[in-house]
């Protein structure tokens, strides 16, 4: 556990050292703030004290930002060879993967915490459904965690960051919309399978304010599979060299 935390801390530090963290925070808060308060169907236009727009925008901005965070995690280590230095320290492959996963997740959580003033401001403006807001945040965290684990996996299989980024978006796209679209065009069993696979189905069900164990299991499973595949991909060096 201690080893994981050391890696998480180091990765988080390097996000802030390399400006990635600041760019991501400013862009995320800027985008979501702009649409929540100033443009389109913003809070004032709708006249409703809720964060619907914020969640809808965050759902997409995080989808694009997360692969940008994860793309360098292992791809750069593969490219520069630092992976060898890291893995010959007293850490297991699993600890490295989880440590990196947590550092990205923490950065996303920091971004979400910094968006809390939106929540408090809207709260001041009128009656707000608190449980819906907290569930919305939980949904965003779970969704980001899923894409982080996918992003770390794609980063682990290549030494090219752009490939890692695009591949993460490509795989993410299936969970984000394609499975959902498919579930609508099929009926019966097939449709249900696609609907179950679709991340948006589970995300929506959580943001509606109901935390169902079925949804939690779905997210945790996808996260776990992503991390497991990353670990397998790192330890592949033992076989192929």
């Amino acid at each position: 556990m201690k080893q994981i935390w050391i890696i998480t801390k180091k990765e988080l530090q390097s996000f802030f050292d390399s400006l990635i963290a600041y760019i991501m925070l400013i862009a995320f808060l800027g985008f979501s703030g702009f649409f929540t308060w100033l443009y389109g169907s913003d809070v004032f236009l709708r006249g409703q004290a809720d964060l619907q727009v914020f969640f809808a925008i965050a759902y997409w901005t995080l989808f694009f930002f997360v692969p940008a965070l994860t793309m360098k995690m292992l791809a750069e280590e593969n490219k520069t060879g630092t992976i060898e230095l890291l893995l010959t320290k007293a850490v297991s492959d699993w600890q490295v993967v989880v440590g990196k996963f947590l550092s990205c997740l923490l950065l996303v959580i920091i971004a979400l915490v910094l968006s809390l003033p939106y929540y408090f401001t809207v709260w001041k403006l009128g009656p707000i459904d608190h449980s819906a807001v907290w569930c919305g945040y939980l949904g965003l965290i779970l969704m980001s965690a899923t894409y982080i684990s996918i992003g770390i996996f794609t980063s682990s299989i290549t030494s090219n960051q752009i490939v890692a980024f695009l591949l993460a978006l490509f795989i993410g796209m299936f969970f984000h919309i394609i499975f959902d679209v498919m579930s609508n065009s099929f009926t019966g069993m097939t449709g249900e399978i696609f609907s179950y696979l679709s991340l948006s189905t589970h995300y929506e069900s959580i943001t509606r304010g109901v935390i169902d164990t079925k949804d939690l299991i779905y997210f945790l499973t996808v996260i776990f599979i992503g991390l497991l595949l990353s670990e397998i991909s790192i330890s592949k060096r033992n076989i192929a060299g």
Partner: protein, 310 residues
């Protein structure tokens, strides 16, 4: 702590990079790994440091096996990989701290260990810079510092002196020798004089097999077999006369001119025999002045070439 390598093999596809090698290294030894490119030196090091799993065989560090307890093994080893990969965007101090924490240095000791390493590796002026801003020599020092930060029992250095200037090379060699007194050191290099200068034992690897193992003196003896002497005689104008007399000594098998105008000869004795006394007595008999009589040692380069060129 001892290192025990038991019938280790590593296959890349059909190619055997390391082919069933076994050896033991005792605490306090400094081992020089020699071998041509692609001989399996780096692969062996990567296996010992638990970066790669072997196809067959096992490595034991003390009582810990790389197969059963890799985390513990990694903690006992300080490793400087080939090409010295580092996080270029991290400041030196932060990087050393990160490694110290990962390697389980106690919290209250971290600062002290970093200070010691910075002083030992001469990084004081550069410690707040980012690693990417450092020159190659200083990066190499950072690589060494991170390998030694947790005071490991075993140091594995893959070409530790590449990119250093001659002064730094001497410093690093002294450092390695000093460390070698209480620790086990394995280093690989292409620079043969370096091995002679630092190592107590030399291991030559070729095509995944160990072809020679021993101190530089033992290796020489093995390679040489026969005594070779350099003889210089003054005050005699007839070179052929000297040549003939040398040839007539019954322990001598071969005589050769070494110089075009001086009376310098290379004299090879018959296997197992020495001609020193006979040459000396011959000179007395002929009243020649013998100004030089010294053994020519086989150079490590020659041994290396003989063993690895085939």
């Amino acid at each position: 702590m001892d290192i025990l390598v038991e019938s280790l093999s590593k296959k890349y596809g059909a190619q055997r990079a390391v082919d069933n090698i076994s050896f033991q290294i005792k605490r306090g030894e400094i081992i020089g790994f020699l071998g041509p490119n692609g001989a399996g030196k780096t692969t062996t090091m990567k296996i010992i440091t638990c970066f790669m799993a072997p196809t067959e065989g096992d490595v034991k560090i003390g009582d810990h096996s790389i197969r059963e307890n890799p985390e513990r093994v990694k903690q006992l080893i300080g490793y400087l990989p080939e090409h010295n990969p580092l996080y270029l965007d991290m400041p030196v101090i932060d990087y050393l701290k990160f490694v110290a924490q990962l390697q389980g240095v106690k919290k209250n000791m971290v600062e002290q260990r970093i200070r010691e390493m910075v002083a030992k590796c001469g990084l004081n002026a550069e410690k707040h810079k980012k690693i990417g801003e450092l020159s190659k020599g200083f990066r190499q020092r950072v690589g060494l510092a991170q390998a030694m930060i947790h005071n490991p029992e075993i140091l594995i250095l893959d070409e530790p002196t590449t990119g250093l200037d001659p002064n730094q090379i001497v410093e690093i060699r002294n450092l390695i020798r000093e460390l070698g007194k209480e620790k086990t050191v394995i280093l690989s290099t292409h620079i043969l004089p370096e091995v002679e200068a630092t190592c107590t034992r030399i291991m030559i690897i070729n095509k995944g097999k160990i072809v020679a193992d021993g101190s530089s003196a033992t290796l020489r003896k093995q390679a040489q077999g026969q005594e070779i002497l350099k003889v210089k005689i003054e005050d005699e104008s007839d070179r052929n006369l000297i040549y003939a007399s040398l040839r007539s000594i019954d322990t001598v098998s071969l005589v050769d001119f070494l110089s075009a105008n001086e009376n310098v000869f290379e004299v090879q004795s018959k296997p197992g025999l020495s001609s020193r006394r006979n040459i000396f007595e011959m000179c007395i008999k002929n009243k020649w002045v013998l100004t030089e009589l010294s053994g020519i040692e086989t150079r490590l380069e020659d041994i290396f070439r003989n063993l690895t060129m085939n």
